[in-house]
């Protein structure tokens, strides 16, 4: 009932909303200016170099895809594991997934040297390359999410003039279990392959380990639902209308808390196995250098572990904090920061450690350093603006919180 009035009360724009839109437009403008500069002069305007060829943008890609993981997790929960009571939040999760994946693709287009050849991975296959597999999975999965989301779009009043379109979009809904299954498989593949992108590089001692893909996917599955939960809460605070039943949101918070615990468990064993018991001269040297010359240790222990895992786990699992929605949203914000810090730490630290290949004793490449340039920050701000604008418009104009009008069961739970 509440959600129906949400879509019917159109074109009442408050000053606050207008200011928010203006702010987002400014972000987009900054991003556009930076993008023009990158396309005009080339990647020379970034601070990346031949020793650190990946930087902030790769971090943004990896994080956006990880934070969009709520889409496949919740689709699988509802349509494969049959927990229909979570259905009211699937639309929101898939919408956030679409935003995350399109943001990642936009950043990638900026990051590759020849954006005009973005289609090459689809035509020239290298089935041995994890990056090839990731490109395919992301494309296919984005398509799956679009199909999953088509019924929501078709409910816009605009499409009322073509009833057949609406019927068609809702017929797609019958495919939901199949889409969820395909989405689960493909997501499990590429979310972990993103970790494998680093894990298979034997040239870099601190990347080359089999735990990389597992840590990536576990962290994504843990944080994705928390992001969805936080989004639902924030929408409720801003619009003042109860969007999703609170017990559902609390269940999501618990799920993410437990997920983060699993992530912490694997991370600690990884630490013990790779850097303590199993340290090779190469990893010891690399970690020594990182701890001496960079903030790697601080990023890892304070930002990733304490801010990104320990505090969120406490806030999401201890009942007295868990009951307070503010703490839940705060915790998922911290967990998001943890993910960003982790992806940054993995990408940049691995490249900062210089390669050592000379048979002699003194020659070593200098340890490289990297901090993003203005153009890189500009593009990142633009991408953030794009994501938030899409989210805002979606919340404003799309029936995100209405239950499925299609054949799906579980409509009785909608607010």
């Amino acid at each position: 009932m509440a959600s129906i009035s949400l879509t019917q009360r159109r074109f009442s724009i408050s000053p606050g909303f207008l200011a928010w839109l203006a702010f987002l437009s400014l972000c987009l403008l900054i991003g556009l200016a930076a993008a023009v500069e990158v396309f005009r002069r080339g990647l020379i305007v970034t601070n990346m170099s031949d020793s650190v060829p990946w930087g902030l943008w790769i971090t943004v890609d990896l994080s956006a895809i990880a934070l969009g993981a709520g889409a496949f997790t919740l689709s699988a929960v509802v349509y494969l594991f049959g927990l229909k009571r979570f259905q009211p939040i699937v639309r929101l999760a898939v919408f956030i997934g679409v935003i995350g994946y399109t943001s990642a693709l936009l950043t990638l287009i900026m990051d590759i040297g020849r954006p005009d050849r973005f289609w090459h991975p689809w035509v020239y296959w290298n089935i041995h390359s994890v990056l090839w597999e990731i490109t395919w999975c992301i494309t296919i999965y984005l398509t799956i999410m679009m199909v999953e989301f088509a019924p929501v779009i078709s409910e816009l009043p605009f499409f009322a003039r073509w009833p057949w379109l609406r019927r068609f979009a809702h017929a797609i809904h019958k495919l939901a279990p199949v889409l969820a299954l395909a989405g689960l498989g493909i997501s499990l593949l590429h979310q972990s392959s993103l970790g494998a992108t680093f894990g298979v590089v034997k040239a870099r001692p601190i990347w080359f380990k089999p735990s990389m893909p597992i840590m990536f996917i576990v962290s994504a599955v843990a944080v994705g639902p928390a992001v969805t939960m936080a989004a639902a809460r924030i929408v409720e605070w801003v619009t003042g209308k109860k969007a999703v039943a609170h017990d559902l949101l609390r269940a999501l918070a618990r799920f993410s808390g437990l997920g983060l615990l699993v992530y912490a468990y694997i991370k600690l064993w990884d630490l013990a196995a790779v850097t303590y018991y199993g340290r090779t001269p190469a990893t010891s040297q690399a970690l020594y250098l990182l701890n001496q010359q960079t903030t790697y240790g601080f990023n890892f222990w304070v930002v990733e572990m304490v801010i990104g895992i320990v505090i969120p786990v406490i806030l999401l699992l201890v009942p007295r904090f868990q009951r307070n929605p503010f703490y839940a949203v705060f915790a998922s914000g911290l967990a998001m920061i943890g993910i960003l810090a982790n992806r940054w730490n993995v990408t940049v630290s691995g490249l900062t450690v210089p390669l050592s290949y000379s048979p002699g004793t003194i020659y070593q490449l200098p340890p490289s350093s990297y901090s993003p340039s203005l153009a890189e920050w500009g593009v990142a701000i633009g991408i953030a603006g794009y994501a938030l604008l899409l989210f805002t418009l979606g919340v404003r104009f799309l029936p995100l919180f209405r239950s499925d009008g299609g054949a799906g069961a579980g409509g009785e739970h909608a607010g």
């Binding site: 080339g42 020793s51 040297g113 035509v123 040239a203 002699g360 003194i362 054949a407």
Partner: protein, 274 residues
């Protein structure tokens, strides 16, 4: 409402629809990307024909390799200069580096490094579009027309042998004409490049019946210019070639052998050992 079983409402008709849609999409995807309906078909055919020209497979039994004698090298950097002139390499992105080194005993020697043309090359494995590949004659080749500039190969190379074109080059090559003249075009902005063992000389030389490593016109510029003969080039599969005989006669090593990349470049260590 207690035990609410999930009712999956799939009739046979639904199942067939889904199966047919899935199969149809798979066929359509194949046809539209690599198949006959691909909008990129012409482009792909054109590129493949270009590749065919470059990558003519020499009939059986070639593996181009190099031997670098660290004991002979005097660190004059001529190889670096000739390479930069002939391949029109940017001043700060040498394909071929020369550095001063010390043995564990403390004596000085010079270490130089072209691309090692690994037979199990990490860069080749990770490239998402097969823009770099190991040719039948062992050369690790770049296809500049296919590279998308993702720089994964640069990240994966254990020897720092790859360089990216961060901008359109407008610099003047100061090594020309003293050290040679460019034999290949400059690479465009946004693609990765690296040492090719002067592939242009090998291919055109072989087409004229010359032997790379023996005939100067078919031999890499760095090998030709070396004033002390510290670099040898030739066919590692031919036991009579200079490189094979040198590898047989000397104790040699390859860089980071523990990674299993099987480099095609062998080093003869200094006499007193490393």
């Amino acid at each position: 409402m207690g035990k609410k079983r999930v009712k999956v409402d799939l009739t046979r008709r639904d199942f067939l629809t889904v199966a047919a849609t899935a199969a149809g999409s798979a066929v359509a995807a194949q046809a539209l990307t690599t198949g006959p309906l691909s909008p990129f078909g012409d482009l792909k055919r054109r590129q493949l024909s270009l590749e065919g020209e470059v990558a003519h497979a020499p009939q059986g039994g070639y593996h181009w390799g190099m031997v670098i004698d660290l004991d002979k090298c005097i660190g004059c950097e001529y190889c670096q200069r000739a390479c930069s002139a002939v391949n029109d390499v940017a001043p700060d992105k040498h394909w071929n580096i020369v550095v001063e080194e010390r043995t564990t005993g403390g004596s000085k020697f010079f270490f130089s490094r072209p691309c090692l043309h690994c037979q199990h090359a990490p860069c080749v494995e990770v490239c998402p579009v097969q823009a770099t590949f190991v040719r039948e004659d062992g050369l690790v080749v770049m296809d500049y027309d296919r590279c998308i500039g993702c720089r994964y190969c640069e990240v994966a190379c254990p020897f720092d042998a790859r360089k990216f074109n961060w901008e359109e080059r407008g610099d003047e090559n100061t090594y020309v004409p003293t050290w040679g003249s460019p034999e290949v075009p400059r690479r465009s902005r946004g693609v990765v490049e690296k040492c090719t063992f002067c592939i242009q000389r090998i291919d055109s030389g072989q087409a004229r019946g010359l032997i790379p490593g023996e005939d100067r016109e078919a031999t890499p510029a760095c090998v030709n210019i070396c004033p002390v003969g510290a670099r040898l080039f030739g066919n590692l599969k031919d036991p009579q070639s200079k490189v094979s005989q040198s590898v047989a006669a000397n104790a040699t090593l390859r860089l980071r052998e523990e990674l299993g990349t099987e480099p095609s470049v062998y080093y003869i260590p200094p006499k007193e050992g490393l």
